[in-house]
């Protein structure tokens, strides 16, 4: 095959924007002409030199497949890294919610369930609502106690469910990252997103959660007393603060590594 015929076939098979394809073809042509010239210098005739250059370059189908720019690789890399980082943050966040459920459970063991799920003073339920709570907690003494038992399941049970979901998300993330690493050869660590992107998002979210939940929980404890459910916010705030600290350390390490 001559260089011209090879470039025609390559052009037919290349996909992507015109300006990109044009530059790829120009680069391929420069390479092929240089290679053919080198073969001629080694004594090959013109036709044989072109054929050797084309053969060395590789099958047009294979080369075109690897050289084709489908969509914007930058966008794909950006999306891939953003999704990978955010799924990891989401998984850690959900596990933190689960841990706050466990902390609420421990707080309820220490201070009683009303500390976690008690209603504020003055809250009154209708007879129908009380009947629902009693149906949910038939052994509870009175409407208020039944309401506490009902709310406790909402605070602790739902959080634990989210924690289990978080573990599944982290497992899925780990499997996906490992599978991708196995499919692709290892590459140098050049990132489209800045270092510490996920840690920044996580630190911002959990820092905000801690800053809101802890003072509000403490205020609720001071104003309404121990048995009015302040433990729900306080357990969330404490775990949010710890998670924030973890993300902040990760961010600090990413930044210091980046700066050398």
């Amino acid at each position: 095959m001559t260089i011209e015929a090879y470039l025609d076939e390559l052009a037919d098979r290349l996909r992507g924007r015109g300006r990109v394809v044009r530059r790829v073809l120009a680069e391929a042509e420069d390479h092929l002409l240089s290679a053919a010239a080198a073969h001629r210098e080694q004594g090959l005739a013109d036709d044989a030199a072109e054929q050797a250059a084309v053969a060395d370059f590789g099958e047009p189908e294979l080369v075109a497949r690897r050289l084709s720019h489908r969509g914007s690789p930058l966008t794909r890399a950006l999306l891939g890294q953003a999704v990978t980082s955010l799924v990891l943050v989401a998984g850690i966040g959900l596990v933190s919610v689960g841990l706050s459920g466990l902390l609420a459970l421990a707080a309820a063991s220490a201070f009683g369930k009303p500390f976690v799920s008690g209603d504020a003073p003055g809250v009154v339920y209708t007879a129908e609502r009380c009947a629902e709570f009693r149906e949910y907690a038939p052994s509870a003494h009175g409407c208020a106690a039944a309401a506490v038992a009902h709310h406790f399941e909402e605070v602790v049970g739902y959080r634990e469910d989210l924690g289990v979901l978080g573990l599944l998300v982290l497992l899925g993330w780990w499997v996906a990252v490992r599978a991708r690493a196995r499919r692709r050869p290892p590459e140098p660590a050049y990132d489209v997103l800045p270092a510490g992107f996920g840690a920044t998002v996580g630190a911002a979210l959990f820092g905000l959660a801690a800053v809101v939940a802890l003072p509000v929980g403490l205020l609720q404890l001071a104003v309404t007393g121990r048995d009015a459910g302040a433990g729900a916010l306080l357990s969330a705030g404490v775990v949010a603060a710890v998670t924030f600290a973890g993300f902040a350390v990760a961010l600090w390490r990413a930044v210091t590594v980046r700066l050398g």
Partner: protein, 122 residues
Amino acid sequence: MAGADDRERLKGHLDLLLLSVLARGPAHGYAVIAALRSTSEGTFDLPEGTVYPALHRLERGGLLSGHWDRATDAPPAARGAGRRRKVYALTSSGEAALAAERTHWRRFRRGVGAVVQAEGRA
């Protein structure tokens, strides 16, 4: 030309090899591939067209910069002498990545060497 096994082994190290070649100075694709082939004494003799996607990827990643020049060093017999030619150069990010990759490579080579030699002695 490199065998299929060599090509598979090479995949994980192609970026390091390309960055190492370009650490010696800016070069166009053909010169990079020729240097890769000659320095490795023919071990890394890949289908040449498949090296360009790696160069493009490194360029997109900011490790290489590429600019178009005129081919002035083409042999007189070369058809199209003076044609446009893309020249690649290592960026500062590329230099940092190369240093990191070299460190990884030395650690990897030491580990493999230690295991292989231990197996040989066993």
